[in-house]
Symmetry: C2
Subunit: 219 residues, 2 copies
């Protein structure tokens, strides 16, 4: 029987581990660089933050669509959707909301490492939590702030949550009785122009121009 | 100001939500199918299970390398590595080992949905836990059993863990004082041939042939 694990000459390193000598270790040479070459893009995290109803999911989807149309691989991590899977053990307590964001940040890091343009769409109201996610991928974190007025978000109220929060039926709702800490120094801000919303496509275009300028759309 | 979120004609649906009428909802048309077309492959989960020292990581890396050489995008989720990130809040208690596997299964599902060939490498000793991961991606879960004799794994002992377990310094170690439940009906079994190990490349080749036969290597 074979005590050593054999690898091709170009993929093996001889090393000493503990009291064993000359165990052949298998070195995995396919890393982020190689995957980026394959995809002709750079893995990164586009982190879209903002109030409920500010248009995060809309922009995430539009960005995913526009990138696909150009031949790039993107994947959307949606805070709400993940609560049906990876984060289904978490409640909406302060501690669990924080753990929710931590996990999404860690998964986004894995996608970026896989070479994918990962689009994370979460309210993520606290600076410290967003900054912790940024620290996981410091060179490839693009924070996009959906800077929409609370009144607009509340007027939209796509999930009816503001109404519930105003009625006191939801406690600790961001923008109502829990703070949203706007980014101080994010990569992109998406705002109204002359009081009007841009189309999802043009908001996505704004992000794509940034990705292009910073070299994420080539290997 | 704009109460509705506008989307291109081909990407919008009119709907009524709560008491609001005719809110334009943005429908994200880029799904798994489109990503698979882009990558010319099908997203799936190759779940490699077996004792510590059975060669899971080695095969995972070889498979990643061989797929890359053929132009396919794969990504390895390694149980040990994830414990430094996503699962760093988890101990090695029975409950936390189970949660570790659940999370890896959920993340693997996301990667498969992204169109990636996700290679998960974990001891994952219990059938029920592997089956729960399978249930997340029932049509694209390829369970690969590293069917290596305990004596071989223990002789290799790449991390020195068997020695610690035999000395009673690690409790509940799979294969020593905790059971490994071999798969009953997995997609692939990797075994010794005439008492000899195959090379990592040829073990990877065995998996690639399966992926090819089942249509995962085309969109």
């Amino acid at each position: 029987m074979c005590k050593e694990v054999y690898a091709g000459v170009n993929n093996s390193v001889m090393s000493t581990v503990g009291k064993s000598t000359n165990i052949v270790w298998y070195e995995c040479k396919i890393g982020k660089h190689e995957r980026q070459q394959l995809l002709k893009q750079k893995g990164c995290v586009v982190w879209i933050t903002g109030l409920s109803g500010s248009g995060k999911s809309t922009v995430a989807c539009a960005l995913s669509r526009e990138l696909y149309a150009r031949g790039y691989l993107a994947y959307v991590l949606d805070g709400d959707n993940l609560r049906h899977g990876l984060n289904r053990d978490l409640s909406f307590s302060a501690e669990d909301r924080s753990e929710n964001i931590r996990r999404v940040g860690e998964v986004a890091k894995l996608f970026a490492d896989a070479g994918v343009i990962c689009i994370a769409s979460l309210i993520s109201p606290y600076r410290s939590e967003r900054d912790a996610c940024r620290a996981l991928v410091p060179d490839s974190f693009i924070e996009v702030f959906m800077d929409m007025p609370l009144e607009l978000c509340e007027a939209r109220d796509p999930k009816g949550l503001y109404k519930l929060a105003r009625a006191g039926k939801i406690k600790g709702f961001t923008g109502i009785d829990d703070p949203y800490e706007a980014p101080l120094n994010c990569e992109l801000v998406i705002q109204l122009k002359n009081g009007e919303c841009s189309s999802p496509s043009s908001m996505a275009e704004q992000i794509i121009m940034y990705l292009d300028e910073k070299g994420f759309l080539k290997a």
